[in-house]
Subunit: 436 residues, 2 copies
């Protein structure tokens, strides 16, 4: 890993928008599903997944869900249950109530908070089939109160027929019982517009390949979508107190995700910088995903030496990383200065995988510097708010003239008259506050 | 206005995505601003607004802001101040605190809530220059704690040189003091990427014409944007208790916005239906914006007769209107059944303009049926959240094996090792809970 000064360092960021051909393919798939429904859905499933299905075989049966349990280890079920408890407990604290402001004149203003009605979760097949992501997408929606949560996932996993049993167990543990074996852009279109077999949803979330991402962009507006995730990132801000072996392991746990992942150490300590660089080399050699991690470290990794922790903080705020670890003598003391970071891990024991799998906060976190203006997935992503206005007669008689004034200044006479007709009718005699 | 049954009624909805030429123009403008900064910004301002500026004339001076007050009526200042008080008071109730969950083992989990750092508000020129929209965009950002709020608006208003003084007064009353006289796609690009004169922002909000909307789409990702608003909509759900003149006036206040606005009455009462139809005709004749309102009513207006209020509610939920008025004998009794509506106005005195200008809730509300999954603008639109994980040694030693189990099932050995290296080091001897 290259050690460099903060002035030498230049962040490489790339966003994939797909080729014109990929965009065209996705447009065609979405249009076909919208027009032909199940017929197109089954045709694309045959073409892209090599699996021939009838409409009534689209939905995963309760029996299959049950059978999945016999195909996974007991220790996995125990671990994912413990993770689910923590994720539920953390997200339950985010739930908000509808509220009202009752005014003495009888006016009531408020905000009504309701869950979305139906949410679709995409779960990729193949190597990117992560049971933990099932929990991270489903549980916040459940806590929000979404009554219908539906999952789609390709009918084959990494060349093998059938859905990964770990995914099915994670779905069952999360409480999802409506699962369809469809994937790709065709699954996204089916969720957005519905087919004979799949009812349309209000929001689609979950990661996927470039076709899935492009399809989500394409259907956005008809339904809501979550953000399109970029490659994963970690920045570790550390001082002399950090253990080089831990820092190197955490950097590599990010780098092994994919060749475009970015792992960066920011430190004022020359000693730590070179010790971590050596540890990274040493640990890399033993990693099963060595070639991915090495490519990531070489292209997007960096060890940046800064003047002091203050300069380190300003580098962090500029990077606005998805994951930030602060491993210094007093990490809480720096928390107030962090402006931009999706998830902040403090101290030597808050290794990033603790958050990826277990602690409770969501692992779907803004990437690519978007932590500047966006947030990890939470319960708020699965609710909608309505404003409530119950104006009293007294309030309208009192405020009507100001409302008319503002409407007329904007040239909206119809707005002014909607108030005026009431003042004229109710103001004289109808006003219970008028003198007799 | 045509009276029809709910089965006859078909909602017309259109979304404007711009012509290929408009899209091309916007792409060119954005690229030029990104590359040339002020030079391009001034060139486009000359070309599109017919105003020649030097870089140091871009920013509106304190003197101009002051002078604007002498060009507006005292009654306007009084009214907009009263509105600002209400809007502030309503939005202040939305502010949330960062929170922590302190666990007995020393672990701390939480969510940190911070304001965005810098927000840009676009204010259109010409006839769409609405002082009320300045308040509705700026105040939630202020309440969120955004330290830098900057406004852009075209240098000429409806053929006249100079910015509308009502807009400037609204900005000053809202507390915005950084204002640039630039508009169109070039202003959006300048906010997103910055120029020599204008620092880049984290989020851009505010309405605009098709070029502004396309430019916002184009820069999304580099910065956050608010939603792209469609034409305005109102649905009135009313029974016999409603006053036909009030209902007609409220429908027309929506219809006068633009030819594509939609005003719909849903009622089980034949009597009310025909009385409102007659009132709409009568009131239309007296409206200054009669031709706009008439076009809207004819193309997108409807009076829908339903079997009963329950069927009316299901029509409302299907429409998911931006504005919903419930004018029935007991409107609060129906509130629980409304699933989809951006803003809900209850009772005879909650005329929609009360909410447009004055009551306090935001008037920027999801259109085009998107109330199914999105919400009026509020303080949440100007904050970002960071997850906080401070895991204790005790917790890591307790949970480490579950985390390793989950990581290995996902094939992410690097994740497992980041935990394992700590368990190996700290577990033996380092574990204060170990037996001596």
């Amino acid at each position: 890993m290259k050690v460099q000064s903060s002035s030498e360092f230049k962040l490489q960021r790339e966003v994939e928008y797909g080729t014109p051909e990929q965009n065209q393919t996705v447009k065609e798939i979405v249009a076909a599903i919208k027009k032909e429904g199940d017929t197109a859905l089954l045709r694309y499933t045959e073409r892209f997944d090599g699996v021939t299905l009838t409409p009534d075989a689209l939905r995963v049966t309760p029996k299959e869900l049950e059978a999945a349990y016999s195909r996974v280890e007991e220790s996995f079920v125990t671990a994912i249950r413990a993770a689910a408890v923590n994720i539920r407990s953390f997200h339950a604290r985010q739930k908000r109530n509808s509220w009202m402001d009752l005014q003495p004149d009888g006016t009531i203003l408020g905000q009504i908070i309701r869950p979305l009605k139906r949410v679709g979760v995409y779960v990729p097949g193949g190597k990117a089939a992560y049971p933990s992501s099932v929990l991270m997408n489903v549980i916040p929606a459940q806590i929000a109160g979404v009554p219908e949560i539906v999952m789609v996932t390709p009918p084959a996993t990494g060349g093998k027929a059938g859905i990964d049993p770990y995914i099915l167990v994670a779905a069952a543990e999360a409480g999802v019982h409506e699962i369809y074996r469809v994937g790709g852009a065709q699954a996204i279109a089916a969720l957005a517009f519905g087919t004979e077999s799949i009812e349309p949803v209000d929001k689609i979330c979950g990661p996927g390949n470039i076709y899935v991402a492009l399809a989500k962009r394409e259907v956005y507006g008809a339904v809501d979508i979550d953000s399109i995730a970029g490659p994963s990132e970690i920045v570790v801000l550390a001082d002399d107190s950090a253990e080089p072996g831990y820092v190197a392991a955490d950097l590599l746990s990010q780098a092994e995700h994919d060749e475009m992942a970015s792992a960066i150490l920011v430190t004022p300590s020359h000693e730590l910088a070179y010790a971590v660089a050596a540890e990274v080399e040493r640990q890399l050699l033993e990693l099963p995903r060595q070639s991915i991690a090495r490519a990531s470290v070489e292209a997007y990794g960096a060890i940046i030496i800064v003047e002091d922790i203050e300069e380190g903080i300003s580098v962090v705020n500029r990077l606005a990383p998805e994951h930030l670890e602060i491993v210094t003598a007093d990490p809480m003391g720096l928390l107030g200065s962090i402006e931009n970071a999706g998830a902040i891990f403090l101290g030597p024991y808050s290794s990033e995988p603790v958050g990826d799998y277990f602690a409770g906060p969501n692992h779907i976190i803004p990437t690519n510097g978007t932590a500047r203006f966006s947030s990890p997935v939470d319960v708020d992503d699965f609710i909608k708010k309505s404003s409530l206005i119950y104006y009293s007669k007294e309030a309208l008689l009192r405020d009507g003239h100001s409302i008319i004034e503002l409407a007329r200044r904007e040239g909206l006479e119809g707005h002014a008259r909607a108030i005026e007709i009431r003042l004229e009718n109710e103001g004289k005699g109808g006003d219970s506050h008028g003198e007799q």
